[in-house]
Amino acid sequence: MSERRELRVYCATPHLGHGVDTDSLDAALALKPDVIVAQGTSTDPGAYYLGADVSYMQALEVRSNLEAVILAARRARVPFIVSTGGSGTRAALERELAGIDAIAREQDVALKLAVIHGEVEPEWVIGRLRAGARARRIVDSPDLPEELDEETVSSATRIVAQMGPEPIMAALARGDVDGVVTGRSLDVGLFVAVPLMRGFPTALSMHFATVMHDGALAAVPGSGADGLFGILTESSYTVFPTNPQRACTPLSVAGMSFYERSNPFEERVPSGVLDVSQATYEAVDDRTVRVRGAAWHPAPYTLKLEGAKLQGYRTICMGASYEPRFIAALDELLAHTREQVARAYGPERVGSWQLEFRVYGRDALRHDADARSAPPGEVGVLIDAMAADQALANAVCSVARSALMHVGYPGRKTTAGNIAVPFSPVEVEVGPSYAYSIWHALPVDDPVAPFPARVETFPRELT
């Protein structure tokens, strides 16, 4: 094995839509990358975006970042690999493709792209279950069934699967595409596809991908909107930011094993577990770090499924107070408010609505013994109503707001109203609320088959 064999990868941004630094990108192109990669899907903003099928990123920002990546890849004559569409649904990816079409037309570039959707049909999942596949929950949360069942699949509004690197590798192996655009995807998979295709060691490649995929978050100062350059060899890899204002240090790169991960020694991917407990991080110069020493434990292939289901409709109201006697009596007043709503909308509708309060300034965030150690000077009370339909959620919130506004308490002098509401509408319809009901690992024999690629040329022909 020749130590000279190397692969150069540029991560353009930690997340499409958060920003691409074009100076950093230009500097990266001067270093002749073999591929440009960026992720654009996540579950972090919550189940709403998957359930309601809307993007959590601003379309204009995603499009400008995609344009920077596409034009850079074109200038460098190398492929690009991106996941896009937030929650990674079919419709979200199609919206981004319409953006890519506009980019191709405006910039006068012809693109031949492999498009790989990450949304899966419930019938397909049920078919797998009926064929005997047992999909265990990935986190031992009592909110998830231990094993995925048909009813849970059927009641989900939408399901996506985190594709691994294999469908991307299959698309690139065609040899005739300028880039790969995916829906929901394993972030690491985007970055490890080319290293695995080129035959670099699996452990090293997987570790390389886990550090690369969050871009300049691996540097100091860290950034959620800047890139990272990586050079992979047979025995180690090096990473550094192309932005001269930043540097990678052994601590900053080793620290990436922490970021949004539950266990800093293990990274679970569909085909196995990466063990970085023995990895070493060594400064090559004052802004470049060399990494080696990760281990790889292959495991039977599983796909991570993410599904969201509707859990109700929400209406909220925020009311604030700085009246010490009101604040002192608040727990009883909130209990009274709940009783008033129960009187109006129960018991015949019991179970069809829920009411929650959060007292900001007091204990909205803390639940430990110290949370209430001193009386707050000012509190905000979030009245949070959820119900089986929007009209009932509105009504529950309205009754609760009115009850809290006018309830009496010892020493009350503010007899015209107890809470300051910041604006009108006083009660705000938030709309449908979704929960993650599927968070399971589904065994599959073939990691490519669930994710057929479609090859499409841009700009699309005008019809």
Binding site: V139, S141, A254, G255, W439
Partner: protein, 105 residues
């Protein structure tokens, strides 16, 4: 009295899925990292007590010498989407940890 906040460079929380919150502590100086590591102040039982969770809900502590960092992961009382949950990103769950007292010095 010395708290973790006095010794650490970074004390942060974040989702590690909608069902887990992960707590990260990083140190500037090796001696501070070693002091906290050897004090065993971040034992799972103590963290569970601090966050009002059963000990079975705590994974770790994981001591990562290469990063001068310590990680603990908590099974959330409620997932991010639960009605009544107040931290969708899990980004402000650090304070019970930061205010823990560290012996020695």
């Amino acid at each position: 009295m010395t708290t973790l906040d006095d010794l650490a460079r970074v004390i942060r929380s974040k989702n590690a899925s909608p069902f887990l919150i992960t707590l990260d502590v990083f140190f500037e100086r090796l001696e501070d990292y070693e002091r906290v590591k050897h004090s065993r102040v971040l034992a799972a039982a103590r963290i569970a007590e601090r966050y009002g969770l059963p000990e079975s809900a705590v994974s770790g502590p994981y001591y990562v010498d290469q990063a001068l960092g310590i990680k603990l992961t908590l099974l959330r009382r409620h997932p991010t989407h639960a009605h009544g949950s107040s931290d969708c990103y899990g980004a402000q769950q650090h304070l019970p940890l930061a205010s823990m007292e560290v012996p020695g010095g």
